[in-house]
Point group: C2
Chain length 114, copies 2
DNA sequence: GGGGAATATTCCTGTCAAGGAATATTCAAA
DNA sequence: TTTGAATATTCCTTGACAGGAATATTCCCC
């Protein structure tokens, strides 16, 4: 495929598309938190919080640091950098430079009668 | 929630997280295409292509222009701009400025014995 | 108006992922 | 070593969603 950015994992978007996980990410942007704090602030049951954090971990969106009983989760920068790179590769689209349909329509016409 | 960017729809990520739809987006970055062309290039059956395009339309990621029999699909810039804005709001995270866990750990300690 | 091309829609089925509840694990402290 | 707190894991059920096949719709052209 044409625009496959290195580092931009397809599953990153999938992981982020779940509302609770997105909320976790939004919450963690202000700094690391434990599972209990995340569950409490987002009104999640602890097992669901752990499960969502597991998905985020597997996608390397967060990382864990064990501290005795607790696990402290924090965001990893790489997926965001990769996503940023990917989105920026659509700059031409975002600037709406290529939306002259007319050329394309003319091309269609020419194929009409071969 | 804290970082709710205006314009960044939660369902945008969900729509993009489906591999075939992501492929469609990658394909359309080089310019508008008809349903038939999309289906052919991505080796999809026409109905599936139409269905995926419908999802992308509903999420305003693409827009349609009817031309006689055919429907020409093209990317819309807004979702990408919104996504760009959202990702950039994680710049602090991407720069890894705030990952001093030590402060947080000390704070945890102080709560230990109230 | 009939036929064929391009596209959309419907119905069905299987798969997968999220939530609930219960349980297992790990650790510190007494 | 037992207790309790914090977290992870398992099992089950249910709902959403993607693909397949068939059909409906819309349009142009003869």
């Amino acid at each position: 495929m044409s625009g496959n950015n290195p580092g931009m994992e397809m599953t990153t978007l999938s992981a982020l598309s779940e509302p609770n996980r997105m909320n976790i990410v939004e919450l963690l942007r202000d700094g690391p938190l434990t599972v209990g704090e995340i569950a409490e602030r987002l009104d999640l049951r602890q097992p669901q919080a752990s499960k969502h954090l597991k998905v985020l971990s597997e996608n390397r969106i967060v990382e864990v640091q064990a501290e005795a009983n607790r696990r402290i989760y924090k965001l990893r920068p790489e997926p965001f950098q990769a996503l940023d790179t990917w989105v920026r590769s659509f700059q031409r689209v975002m600037e709406e430079r290529f939306d002259n349909l007319d050329d394309y329509l003319r091309e269609l016409q020419s194929k009409e009668k071969p």
